[in-house]
Structure formats: structure tokens, C-alpha cells
Symmetry: C2
Subunit: 521 residues, 2 copies
Amino acid sequence: MQPSQSPGPPHAPLVEVLQLELAPPSLADNTADLDRLLRALRRQGFEPIQVRLADADEFAARIRGENFHVTVLVGFFGSHWEIVDILPGSSSPTPLGLAIDLGSSTIGLFFIDLADRKTVAGTSIPNPQAEYGEDILSRLLFARARGNRKILQRIVIGGINRAIRETLENLGRSLSDLCAVTVAGNTVMSHFFLGLDPANLFKEPYIPAVNHFPTFRGKDSTLAMHPRGPVYVFPNAGSYLGGDLIAGVLACGMHRTEEISLLADVGTNAEVVLGNREWLVACAGAAGPALEGGALERGMPAAPGAIDRVRIDPATFEPDFHVLGDVKPSGICGSGVIDLIAEMFRARLLTRQGKLSSPPGCRRVVHTEDGPAYVLADPDRTADEKELLITETDVEVFLKSKAAMYAMLNVAVKKVGIRFDDVRHFYVAGAFGESIDPAMAVRIGMIPDLPMETFHRMGNTAAAGAAMLLVDRDLLKDMEKACGRITYVELNVNAEFMDEFRSALFLPHTSRRLFPSVNVP
Amino acid sequence: MQPSQSPGPPHAPLVEVLQLELAPPSLADNTADLDRLLRALRRQGFEPIQVRLADADEFAARIRGENFHVTVLVGFFGSHWEIVDILPGSSSPTPLGLAIDLGSSTIGLFFIDLADRKTVAGTSIPNPQAEYGEDILSRLLFARARGNRKILQRIVIGGINRAIRETLENLGRSLSDLCAVTVAGNTVMSHFFLGLDPANLFKEPYIPAVNHFPTFRGKDSTLAMHPRGPVYVFPNAGSYLGGDLIAGVLACGMHRTEEISLLADVGTNAEVVLGNREWLVACAGAAGPALEGGALERGMPAAPGAIDRVRIDPATFEPDFHVLGDVKPSGICGSGVIDLIAEMFRARLLTRQGKLSSPPGCRRVVHTEDGPAYVLADPDRTADEKELLITETDVEVFLKSKAAMYAMLNVAVKKVGIRFDDVRHFYVAGAFGESIDPAMAVRIGMIPDLPMETFHRMGNTAAAGAAMLLVDRDLLKDMEKACGRITYVELNVNAEFMDEFRSALFLPHTSRRLFPSVNVP
């Protein structure tokens, strides 16, 4: 269609810009004004193309008003094309796209120039739905009462719109420049975003109202954007297998290769996809809070003040850590917890069962009201001037999370009759996927004992997948195919999962031979 | 897809009714509620199928509310299918369709049972736009002022809605039973109906705003019908070649046969289509008022009180006529005028030049202020107790109309290099197409001198075509193809037409050998 407007590989954005100089009508060619434009678009491959009745009058008038020399924005809606706008032939618009990572606690917004594929702005806001429930379950309870679902929808779109307006103003751009939006969220978030009823998602057999959401136009919602621009919400493949994970599959490209890949997305829920271009198996479960740091006494998100890397000297048991931002630590985030547990295990501060022990010469294990604890930072080094410590209970909570993660991976692999050794690429995604140290995660038995080059730290794959779709519409077909191929394993009713879970509660695992590279002290 | 629900040939209405008992969701089949229904519909061939975001929540809730046993109404939108309604599985709806013949003076409404294809009601109303201009040109002038186009749209839809409500009430049916509407009108009427600007239709090169109108849903307009039912407005193929004529092509099926057919639609404008399944040539022009009776002193539409058939005794010159309705005559309609002129010509009351003569023994030719006239009915036999007569001026006006008609036919035939003898079927359509006597029309040289079995009186082909489409959606494809094949000959700028026109001002024609069957007295 249109040649790429910038160096780099050819791309196919969701909205194309075309300069068209149409032959003016004559007695010999009496095609109507709007039909004349559509004929030109079809000849360039934009087919099938649909026009809404409400737009026909305006479009026809503009074509004639511009004397058949027009700049046309054409939007891809999956099953068809639609005209997004008709501008003077002399104009050279540079439409923007917005990729939204619709998280339950944080919403990320990434503005992409559709022509040159560059990210021109990025921002994140707390999900304003938190006002009606900190976690998803409490929001679901809130949404049960009549009218409340609409409140949740209104408030999340309101928050997004404020962020859009602010960002566009900073960029010196107008709302109508924002011509395409992609949204990747988990199943519940997507339902709330679209005003759909998620009530059946949380009772067996856990069924969404909709898996493949209709692609719609800005004006079909209250989103602050071009009224005719396409909005694409990533589909779900199950109640716990949301559009965020589907976007993740796109982002790492595992649906395209012959080699087998594994994608583990560790957020509030843990989600796993295993497969290649021929098959995909997925499972998910509530494994994550402790892995994100959230469930621990001093746990916190990966934000300024969070300890994200930890080393412990096995001789002196003294810790060394890195803090995000130039501040004193106020807590520990997911990657920090993984490091900490792994290092405590190596230094024999933790038994295989996850019990704290105080080896001779160790001064950092103390006894608190909550039982024994390891002091990671003394009061004079912390932001709140209190000891920053991890208790045995914290470790217990964390082991359950890491066991759930490993069990999930194991169930997926066994489901298709392969072994971990068959996995060529292991993509670690999620809020802290970028900072996690695979070697540490292997040492505690959270992820399988594979060669280090197998692991890829992906960061926010939901946002990455959503942004990719904005500039590569061909991914839509990929995704529909991938969704159709996914076999979803429901863990809530899986007895095998419970067995695997119990075996994985140890450091690194009940079966030590599964982790040959880990030296059990 | 669905087997025909009534005896007769299989048919494919614009809206199908399906009873679906979906397998309820389970852990093994966790497809979402709406996706589950769409999957079932796709498996039955309803593909591609689109759902609007605004409907998704309601649809998903109904599917679950009915426990996956539903009756679904699926509507055909040309490029795709849409769900029109989801009803309880136990219901057995019988959706109605409405075919609208959107005339500039009269609007015909025909209600069709989509299941058994029977017409369940028919009515007609005067086009309420007449309030803003009796003829199309004066409405176009009115429409120029800002906002007036919307008035014309509102008033015509308002009139149609009143007729719909009244008819449905009489039938004991509700608005939501009306699930599909087809509209056949001329290019200007269709533009007004859809709120489109017809301004460029009446200046060279005579270009419509839109030829192929978007298929839309009831709720996209203010039509009184099911909000999600499809509304299809027949396309134009030129400014004077409207959807009414395209519907006529469908109605006589000339686009499907190998034999060459000619369709002449005689209304306020005269329109001609010539061709077969491989090619179609069309031309049109303002030929008609006199042919409809409207332009004559005592002309009137084919309504009660109109003389529609005339015979004159060549020996006594005494007339014999038939009056529509059981009333005294108050005027003469198109078919009556054709008969009258033809009979006057045979009885030597008219010369070949259209001058009145008074043969010996004739008492019915009188002299009026407007020149000589023939008295068709004496005052004691008429409704207004005045003489009902035709003046020489009337004859002159009429000859111009019939000459235009014949010239148009001739131009069309010559355009493709054939002769009238090659035409196997001659369809006479239009407001008075049903009552016109082809033998009389041949005698005055209005239509070519072909064997009588060539002629078919079709009546209102616009209404017939619109009604056919309601129960046979495959015609949509036929029509798009036919539209693409039509070559439109613009007569307004055609010098050949003027030559033909002048030659055809005689009775039956300057060149008598063109009408060998006509005995020129």
C-alpha cells in the first residue's frame, strides 16, 4: 500500500495516510463523489471498506470542497477498513496511536507516531478504580450493585482521558491527532473498560461475557481521541488468560517460531503460555502478590525506595543491596525478594523448608513478635528509621507464590508431554520482569533450571504487544489465529497442580535432581 | 442455511430466524457467552458477522439469561451479517419486511412476511415533501437554504413512520417486528431520504453525492422499525438513473438473461435500460409529465375519476371510455391519453403533424379559446359538469413527451449498435405501466413496432424490486454487478437525441417504414 515513510522495515499501521488526486467527475465518468473516493481506495487495496451513513454527507461534501484533491486517513478495523478522516490535499498529518497497558493498579499509556513508529510520550497513572476496591475481587463485589459497573467504566476512561489530554497538550497536538488506540488488559479489566458484565468470571466454569471484543470507533466510547479512529481491545482466551497475556505472546513472537517457547507473566496473577507456531497451552492462577513484593511485611512495588537487588556475603552474612532512586530504602520489591531469598538460602540462613537458621557468627538474625527475622537494613539506613527485615512468615508466604509459579510451569509442560529441556526460549514478563535475575529465580526453584541464555527479560510485554499492533496491523490476524490455538488449562480444578505445588514448596524443590545447577548448602 | 419455512422455492430473506440450543459452557469448553453464539452462527455460514460494542453487553446477558437456548434474528448487511435480536428459545417470531417505493409524488409501502414471502399489507401516502415544492426542482431550490435539507428528510420519514405505525397497529404487530426495510427511489428522492446533498445533480456533469449508499440499521435513522434491522437503499447509477430503475432491472430480471431486453419506466421522468446479463445501457430524461397525464389541461393521475381507456368509432367519431372507480370522469390519465391520441389518429381526427381536423360528419371537434379541441365527454357525463376535452395544445405537449420516449429508446439501441428487432422483451413499467396498451403506444410511435408478445406490462417495478430483495438477499450481489455494468448515456448533452426527438414528433414517426404495422390513414 503506502511506502514506509521512514527508514527501517516496512510497516503497516492501523491508520494509513494517503494523498489522493482524484480525476474530477465528467460526463464520461459520472461516478458519484463518495464512490469516486472509495473506488480509488479499493484500487489501492483498502478492501472491504465501509462507510457509516452518518458520515456520508460530510465525506461527500469534503471531497468536493477540496476539489477531489484530498488527504485521507484510512483505519483498519480487522474485518474491514473505514475512512477516519478526509483532509485538504495539501495537509500532511502525522497521526498518533496510543497503546494502553490496562493494569488493575497502574495504567500505562504509550503514544506512538504511526508513521515513524517512535514512542513520542509515555506516562502512567494509578488505576482510578482503586477508589472502589483496591483489588479486583473487591471491585467485582462493588460492580454487582445496579449501575456500579458503569461507574467503574466511567472512572477508568475518565482517568485515561485526563492523561491523554495532558500528554497531547504537552506534545502540542490535538485530540483528533490521536487516531488509533490499542488496549491490553486482563479479562476483568477489559470487561470493566468496555462496560461488560464480568460476573460469571469468578464462578465455575469461569466464563467471560465476551472473548473477542468488537473493534469500535472513538465515538462509540467516551475516549478522548479522533471520533472515527479504531479502538482495539485485545481478546481474552479465558477468565484468567487476558488480553495482556495475548499481547505478551505477540511481543515475544513465540506464536511464529518452530522452537518451543515459554512465556511467564508474573503480576498479581501469574500466567504462563507454552508453545510455538503450531500449538499453545496456557494456564494462570493467583500466584503473584508475594512475587510482586506486595504480600510481604515490607514488600512494595518497584518504585523509588524499593530494594531491587540483594547480595549476602556467605562468610559474614552481611547484606549489600541496591535501591531504586537516590533515596534510603523503604521496602523491597519483587526482584529484591527473589534475590534475598536466594542469597539467604545460599548462605544457609534458610533451610530447604524455608525455616530461618542463625549460623554461628551471624548477627543479623533477630527474634521478633512474629518469630525469627533477618535484618536487611538497620534503622539508621532506612527511610522510616525502622529496621527493614524479612520474617519467617514472609518467607513462607513467598514460597507459596514461587511454588505456584513453578507448579504452573510444570503442569503446562506435562500437559503437552514435553520436558523443560525442550524449551528453547523462556520469556520473563510482568511488572518486574525486566529486573528479575533468572539465576536467582532458578536457585530458589521458581523457574526451571535451564541454561542462562534461554532466559529473556521482557519487561512490560502487554504494553509492548499493544504498541506493536499499532504499527503492524498484520499482527491482528496472527493474534486471532493464536487465540484460536490456545488450550487453556484451568488450574482451579486441577489436582495435578496441587501435587506439583506441594512439591515445589521446598528450596529449590522436593526433587533436587530437577535443579542440578543449584548447590544445595 | 435455514430451510425454507413455507412451501415454494427456497428463499433467502434479509433477516433469518434461527433456533439455537448452544452447549452450555464448561471447563472443557470455556468459550465466552457471546463468542459461543457467534461460533454457532459462523458454523451455519453467517460469516463475516459483526457485533457493535453497544450491543455486546445486552447480547451476552440475554444468551446467559436464556440459558444458551435462544432464537436469533440475523440480518444481512451486504458485506457482513449482524445480530438483529436475541429472543427466548421458545419464541417463534415472524419478522416483517417493508419495501418502500419512494416516489416524488406518492410513496408506496408494502409489508412482506419474510418467512412466507406474502404481502401482508400495502398502503400509499402522498409524499409530504410536496408541502415544500410540488416537483423535484422546487424542492431542490428549497433545499438550498441551510437546514432545509434536514426538514425534507424529517418530513418524508415522518410521513413514512405514521404509515408504518398505522399499518402495524392494524396488523396487531409491533415496531420491533419490522426487521428489514428496502427503499427504491430516484436519485434525488434517495438523497433527500438519507440527508445527502443533491446540489450537484442538476448542473453539468450531473454528479450524485453518493451512488452506493451505506446499508444501515434502523437506529442509525429515525425510521420506525427494529433498531438493529437492516435498511437498504437501492443505489443510483447516475443523476437521472436512480434506485427505482435499478429495482426495476431486478424486477424484470433482464440482467440475468442472454436475450436482450428493454425496460422503459415512464414516470415524471422517462428512463430506459437496454441490455442483458453481459451489458446494460441506460438513459433517462424529463419526458414524462404528459405521458402521466399530468401536463394536460384535464390530465390527472390514474386515480378514481380518471379515464384510463378510450375507443373512438372511426365512422361516427363518437368516443367510448372506461373510468376508474364507480364515478363520473373528472380527467384523463396517461394510458387514457395514449388511447385517445391513437384513436383520434386512426379516425383521422389528428393529422400526422398532430393537428386537429374535423372530418365530414364529425360533431365532436369544437373551437375553444385555446384553439380546436375534441370533446371526449359532454358536461352531463362529467364530475364537474364541464366538457372534458383535449386541445390541439394538449396534443402538442403530449407529442413532445412521446417523441422524447421514442428518441430515448432509439439512442439506447443505436448506442450499442443493435436494432429494435434484436430486443426480445420490452418491459413497460411505471405508474401507469400496468394499464398502458402497447398496441396503442405503438400506433402513436411512442414505442417501437414490435410483435405484441414482446411487450410485458410490469406496473410498479420499483416496488416489485424492493420487495424481491427483502426475501432474496442474493439479489444484492446481482445488483452491485448490474450497477457496475451499466453505461449511462447522458441525453442532456446528446446531439443525436435531439435529431431523433425531432423525427419522432410525428404520428407515428417521420419515417413511416419504422412502423410497418401502423396503417397511416
